[in-house]
């Protein structure tokens, strides 16, 4: 089992303090979802964990400081799927997914048979074999999300960071992608940290929620603890009703006394 621990992490971008004193701990097989209003620092926090933004504070995997690792070794531990990944025009799905093997290759090496096999396995696992020769820039939203997740899986890291994996998807694809992530984290014992906008959905799949506002963690816990009328009203400035359901709280927008003209 692998445990990622972040202790009082701070991220500054252009002198602006975007993430303040965020602490968390997550082990393989768990799914932590970060929610919060726009500009809360969710994406910035994920990018800092992915190593693309500098941060200060404790950041360890199984007790080893992540910042001491070479970029390649760090990528062997942590994979990252950006909110709006670049899909290079003219690149085949197979080649794109194989980019995930970069972390396992020396700088000037070419892929070995193992890398080809791993890529093949991942494509098979996600039902993407039929897409192998498609141009990544021609994929639909749902296919694209599966392909980027496939790339992260090919990286074979025990920790995967997903920035808004479902934002661009309709409700059917949303569920498909989330079920896929849920299956993978259980079968392959992967720790997933994701951000999400849909609050009801965030209560259905992840096992823990962390609510961020203005760069700080406001509260965390299970869906029933975090998704309360109070929390959402206070931090999102939204009027909602919470319908209690055994599978998780259902968050619906609420409008009080609409004024009729």
């Amino acid at each position: 089992m692998t445990t990622l621990a972040v202790n009082s992490l701070n991220v500054k971008v252009n002198e602006r303090h975007i993430v303040r004193d965020v602490s968390l701990s997550i082990s393989t097989g768990e799914w932590l979802c970060i929610i919060g209003p726009n500009g809360a620092g969710k994406s910035t926090f994920l990018r800092a964990l992915a190593g693309v933004l500098p941060s200060t504070g404790g950041f360890t995997i199984d007790g080893n400081d992540v910042r001491d690792l070479h970029v390649r070794d760090r990528a062997c531990w942590i994979a990252y799927v950006a909110q709006d990944p670049v899909m290079p025009a003219g690149m085949k799905v197979f080649d794109y997914v194989m980019l995930g093997r970069t972390a396992h290759l020396r700088l000037l090496a070419s892929e070995s048979q193992l890398d080809l096999d791993m890529t093949d396995l991942v494509l098979q696992e996600l039902g993407l074999l039929a897409f192998a020769n498609r141009d990544v820039s021609t994929l639909s939203g749902g296919e694209r999300q599966r392909v980027t997740i496939a790339r992260a899986l090919a990286q074979a890291s025990p920790i995967i960071l997903l920035d808004e994996p479902t934002t661009a998807l309709d409700i059917g694809y949303q569920q498909e992608v989330l079920e896929l992530i849920d299956r993978l984290r259980q079968e392959q014992k992967i720790a997933v940290i994701s951000t999400m906008h849909d609050l009801t959905v965030s209560g259905l799949f992840p096992d823990r929620l962390m609510l961020m506002a203005s760069g700080e963690v406001v509260t965390q816990g299970n869906a029933h603890e975090v998704l309360t009328q109070d929390n959402i009203g206070k931090h999102y400035g939204a009027r909602v009703r919470i319908i209690s359901d055994e599978r998780g709280p259902i968050v619906v927008p609420h409008r009080e006394n609409p004024t009729n003209s």
């Binding site: 693309v52 390649r72 990528a75 950006a82 025009a89 003219g90 970069t102 972390a103 892929e111 080809l116």
Partner: protein
């Protein structure tokens, strides 16, 4: 079923196309000139010099001199220079994810040119060996300036800002070069001829001078072809996938700039090769640098040999500077690439 299961490499058939094109271009380049010399005679002369084998043909000693002392070194120089200019352009395009990237764009050519101009102007005689050295220095200073400027907070830190910095550096260096020329108008003719770009005809010495640099730089860039594919998803994602982005980019830029400087030091400014060749090949091979680079290396040379044939024959016996030929072909091409990249098709 297993069709997709391979690394993106160039099919064998296309490798042979590249090799065949180089051989055909080399042969035509040596046959065509003020006097037509038959391919059989050319082959005979080349075989005699290289392997000591006489074929059954009757090449005269004049032909021998024309081929071995004049045309062949020139063709070989064109192959080397065209190849490195195209490959450098291709490498810059990959590492900056910008279809318009070219040795010109980063101020590399301008820097190399200023270096060489200074050497011509400030040294008393034409010290031949000084030229490449001065070119290297100028090119590396230019790329260093562009790189540090592009990475500073002054203009932001994206790949685009680096290219804007390159344009600024190029303008500055060109201005300094103009100043240097003005102050030394007695030597302006010599510099002027050099700026337009020319393939030198000083026998094999120029080839010997630049070939080692070009071969080494091409080999380094070739080694980075997979890395260039990784760059295509952008710095952030490439970094998160474990690519040491800054180090890899520095290696690619240094190799491409050094190669360009070597070429510029003997031929002067030959532009647009880095735009024309890789983009034409992209149309056939797609954007993977593993397919693109082998053909770019081959056809960069082929392109310059044909450009040289045009420059020698169109207004014969006068010669059009080869830089003028490539610019005439390249400027419309540049607009074409600009147009298609606006549509977001090339990345």
């Amino acid at each position: 079923m297993t069709q997709h299961r391979s690394t993106p490499t160039l099919p064998r058939s296309l490798w042979s196309v590249g090799v065949a094109a180089v051989l055909i271009a080399a042969l035509l380049g040596t046959c065509i000139g003020a006097v037509w010399i038959s391919p059989m005679h050319v082959l005979d002369i080349v075989m005699t010099h290289i392997a000591g084998i006489h074929l059954a043909s009757s090449a005269t000693s004049t032909e021998d001199t024309i081929i071995w002392q004049l045309r062949l070194p020139r063709v070989v120089l064109a192959l080397f220079v065209g190849s490195i200019l195209a490959t450098s352009g291709c490498a810059y395009q990959g590492t900056f994810r910008n279809p318009l990237a070219d040795p010109y764009l980063l101020g590399v050519s301008a820097g190399a040119s200023l270096g060489a101009t200074s050497a011509i102007v400030f040294s008393n005689s034409t010290v031949h060996w000084l030229l490449p050295l001065a070119s290297f220095t100028g090119a590396m200073m230019a790329v260093g300036l562009t790189y540090s400027l592009g990475r500073s907070a002054l203009v932001g830190r994206s790949a685009t800002s680096l290219i804007l910095a390159g344009v600024a550096v190029a303008s500055l260096l060109t201005a300094i070069q103009t100043l240097v020329q003005q102050r030394n108008s007695d030597k302006i003719r010599e510099v002027y001829g050099w700026i337009l770009g020319r393939l030198s005809t000083s026998g094999w010495s120029d080839v010997q001078l630049v070939a080692p640099y070009i071969i080494v730089c091409t080999a380094i860039l070739w080694q980075h072809r997979r890395v260039l594919d990784v760059f295509s998803v952008g710095d952030e994602e490439a970094l998160s996938m474990g690519l040491p982005v800054n180090r890899a980019r520095a290696a690619i830029i240094i190799a491409a700039s050094l190669g360009t400087a070597a070429a510029v030091s003997v031929t002067g400014l030959i532009g647009f090769v880095g735009i024309i060749v890789p983009h034409t090949i992209r149309l056939f091979t797609g954007n993977s640098y593993r397919r693109l680079m082998p053909l770019t290396i081959a056809f960069g040379g082929v392109f310059l040999v044909f450009a040289d044939i045009i420059s020698r024959t169109v207004l014969a016996p006068q010669e059009i500077p080869i830089g003028v030929v490539t610019a005439l072909l390249g400027a419309p091409f540049f607009l074409f690439v600009l147009g298609s990249s606006r549509n977001g098709e090339i990345s």
